[in-house]
């Protein structure tokens, strides 16, 4: 009887392990990411709490002590704050966020609408540097997108907390709306923390990734008759 239970548990243990390994490989997709820590009421969780003289366990174990910014490997956003159960977790105590000083751009839906009409009229004031339209960004949580932070890109686009680096010419080639947006947005004066102008989008990172997949990866858009012979 016990042997059976252990075997079952062993099977489940392997399944559990496989699950977390897969989760990690996928960049913890679907898992919430803490966007900050409560700082008003310090916890008393033992030694080392705010004590610079204390020795972190990482150091005592011979591991590097990296008191650096979080090494975020995925796009952290408020939308990702979901629990992999059946419940929406209550509002997180997020650290105070600041307005990004970078340039705002319109949403993808605006691009689409403009593309549909394809007129040459200037796109509305949503592209202007209006602080009212700027999303709230936690600057400490901004992380480059794992696929679309292209080293040779010439413009950065910030969607939520995910940073993209892309080619304005290629995006402009595919979309008159983006072309106008890049033309109108003052890339020269925009904030350039990484050596190229950064503009801030109000779109979700996932939506922007979809757009970039379509633009950069031809195979992303599959033809329904791709496997058919034309002979």
């Amino acid at each position: 009887m016990r042997r059976g239970r252990v075997a079952k548990g062993d099977h489940r243990a392997k399944a559990n392990l496989q699950e977390v390994v897969t989760l990690r490989e996928r960049g913890w997709e679907g898992l919430p990411l803490s966007l900050g820590f409560t700082t008003g009421q310090p916890h008393q969780t033992g030694a080392g709490q705010g004590d610079p003289a204390s020795t972190p366990v990482a150091t005592s174990l011979g591991l590097p002590n990296r008191d650096l910014e979080p090494q975020t490997s995925q796009a952290p956003s408020l939308d990702s704050l979901t629990v992999p159960e059946t419940y929406t977790i209550p509002a997180s105590p997020v650290t105070p966020v600041t307005h990004s000083p970078s340039t705002s751009i319109a949403t993808l839906s605006d691009f689409t609408a403009a593309d549909a009409s394809d007129d040459e009229s200037p796109i509305g004031p949503t592209f202007a540097n209006t602080s009212d339209d700027e999303p709230l960004i936690d600057p400490t949580a901004v992380a480059p997108h794992e696929s679309f932070y292209l080293d040779d890109g010439n413009v950065e686009v910030l969607c939520g907390n995910t940073l993209f680096r892309v080619h304005s010419t290629i995006l402009s080639f595919h979309s008159p709306a983006l072309r106008r947006m890049f033309a109108q947005t003052s890339l020269v004066t925009a904030e350039s923390p990484n050596g190229c102008p950064r503009i801030t989008s109000l779109d979700l990172a996932t939506d922007f990734v979809t757009l970039l997949n379509i633009v950069y990866l031809p195979e992303y858009v599959t033809c329904p008759h791709a496997n058919e012979s034309f002979r």
Binding site: A15, V20, L31, S34, T45, D67, P70, Q71, V83, P84
Partner: protein, 230 residues
């Protein structure tokens, strides 16, 4: 007042997504009665939640590691702290509970390592709660960065409860721990996890009686039988 405390505790014990709103109402109702006719002790709500933090949904021996209502416990603490009736008795509740959770987590881990027993049942509940607290920002950043994972991998190999704890933490809060903990620590966790093989079921026993019984059975199985020696 003990009766009220017991009643509040049973609410925590029986929390579910379906009865959550009713449970919060129940809390509000009895605290209202308590403050009208009694002197409410300062830690009434804290203790009612804390002493009922475990759940029968955790069955480590079957690989069931996730606390089915941990998120509701946190939600209750959050709502209780912001509720206008409950707030006079719940100020700082989330901070206190998260602090208590992480303290007991460290202590129970050590007890389990030393004795192979201890409050393993509570340990699993605490790990689940820590994962949720971490996601919500209620675990000190230094604890995530320097203490939680490191305390589980401080030996050459993992104990079974430590392997389970790592799985729970990564399953529920992998993004947070990967983001704030040292990459080499996370790598070491996975290295140990993938090489870990579960040993004896006695780590899963929640009390010494079961632990001793299992040990006795193991000893009997391994003992050479009389008359078998050549």
């Amino acid at each position: 007042m003990e009766d009220i405390k017991g009643a509040l505790g049973s609410v925590v014990d029986n929390l579910s997504d379906q009865n959550y709103a009713r449970s919060l109402e129940f809390y509000r109702f009895w605290i209202d009665i308590g403050q009208s006719y009694h002197q409410i002790p300062p830690n009434l709500v804290d203790d009612a939640i804390w002493q009922n933090r475990t759940t029968s949904s955790i069955v480590p021996i079957e690989g069931k590691l996730i606390h089915s209502t941990a998120h509701l416990i946190l939600r209750l603490a959050s709502d209780a702290e912001s509720d206008h009736i409950l707030s006079p008795h719940t100020s700082g509740l989330q901070n206190r509970l998260s602090t208590r959770t992480i303290r007991e987590f460290f202590a129970n881990n050590l007890r389990a390592v030393r004795s192979g027993s201890g409050s393993v049942e509570y340990f699993y509940a605490e790990v689940n709660l820590i994962a949720h607290w971490a996601n919500l920002g209620y675990v000190e950043e230094a604890a995530i960065r320097h203490h939680v994972l490191q305390s589980l991998i401080s030996h050459q190999t993992l104990y079974d409860h430590q392997a389970d704890a790592l799985i729970i933490l990564f399953k529920l809060a992998g993004a947070t721990f990967e983001a704030y903990a040292d990459p080499s620590v996370v790598d070491r966790c996975f290295e140990l996890l993938t090489s870990h093989s579960y040993k004896a079921p006695h780590y899963y026993q929640s009390d010494n009686v079961n632990y001793l019984r299992v040990r006795r059975e193991l000893v009997q199985v391994r003992a050479p039988r009389a008359g078998c020696e050549r």
